[in-house]
Symmetry: C2
Subunit: 244 residues, 2 copies
Amino acid sequence: MSYRLYYWPSVQGRGEFVRLALEESAAGYVDVARESGKGLGVPALMKLMDARRVEHAPFAPPFLQSGRLIVAQTANILLYLGPRHGLAPKNEAGRLWVHQLQLTIADFVAEVHDTHHPVAASLYYEDQKPEARRRAADFRQRRVPKYLGYFEQLLGRERRGKYLTGAKPTYVDLSLFQIMAGLHYAFPRAMAVARRRYKRLAALSESVQARPRINDYLASERRIPFNEDGIFRHYPELDESSTG
Amino acid sequence: MSYRLYYWPSVQGRGEFVRLALEESAAGYVDVARESGKGLGVPALMKLMDARRVEHAPFAPPFLQSGRLIVAQTANILLYLGPRHGLAPKNEAGRLWVHQLQLTIADFVAEVHDTHHPVAASLYYEDQKPEARRRAADFRQRRVPKYLGYFEQLLGRERRGKYLTGAKPTYVDLSLFQIMAGLHYAFPRAMAVARRRYKRLAALSESVQARPRINDYLASERRIPFNEDGIFRHYPELDESSTG
């Protein structure tokens, strides 16, 4: 069974949460927009988004094709993949719980994006820098502690294993690794301090990174480096000032 | 079977998408934070959000209690309720599709909120008015046409009934009604023009509003009026200017 993943070819973005799940489960997949040839590339992605012609056309990437099924929205794709590849609990209550956490991560990711685009996604960062500085300060001072503090507290509850729901990772653990990696890239000064406050999240992140398939993936060319076109962008002026 | 819904007592907010589904399905529910007495009120809501003490503590309201299960995140609650009350397709592909649309609506709702809070949810609107004007202009000019245009196109595809997936409404139809009602409240001038462009959405919205249980609900005291503490706020300076 080979999946087709559709996402923008030059950024990790929201697609990365799906890539990590596909890589960990060793599910074969074609990263469609990063390939060229017939039925591949960005045109293949655009074609499926035409709601006048395509039944169940997605509003935006990422989306996943599995046989005749097309599933969009990052958390919805993971909801679909999770139970098929041992990356979600088997019972309904467990599945709803990890999906709920993934949706909380999705909210956080949208806030990360808006640190550099608080006015409009259609404008350049350079056209909204004063607003971005204000929003990023609130993000670092209030939103990061609120979200990371929540997950840190969940990890502090009595557990049977090193992952959020036990000894085996779910797609939420993979996503939390990506969140921590992205925050370290975008806000290195703020995270150097925060790291000490979120020890369990840091340990979880290291456990994910050390998994053989994830480790192989991160060292491969399939992992697109962080860059300033993605969600996590490193603009030093949005990070904590070096004087505190 | 009676549900307990937990949401802030004085706004429609994200809780309203759940209320509409509960009302249409005639499922009994207690709107916990709006009642007073033992185990009720806002303290009961706060208590369940303590991640140090409560297993599966939600990050934020709304959340729904069903027996021993607690489900949070608006779209996740609807994912749970939909198939139980005939408000979602029965097969997996159909369920994933309506959930995907609900998640797209959730993204839109977050953008609606940020029109009046582009800098920080922790600040008053009065402290971010210039930024709000810029963001609201982009929202009206680019984001509303993108989202409503998408749903209008989906509605334009050959259908068997007056709702998005056929003759019976799903929770997505109820949510689209709420979106249209909220936009009309918040941006009456912009929507007076847009209404002509989104005829199918307007018709869908009227069909939902005319459903007996929804109609009863909207006329009852259970429906909190729109107000300037919620997601959809009417600030005339964020609407289209009367001169165009």
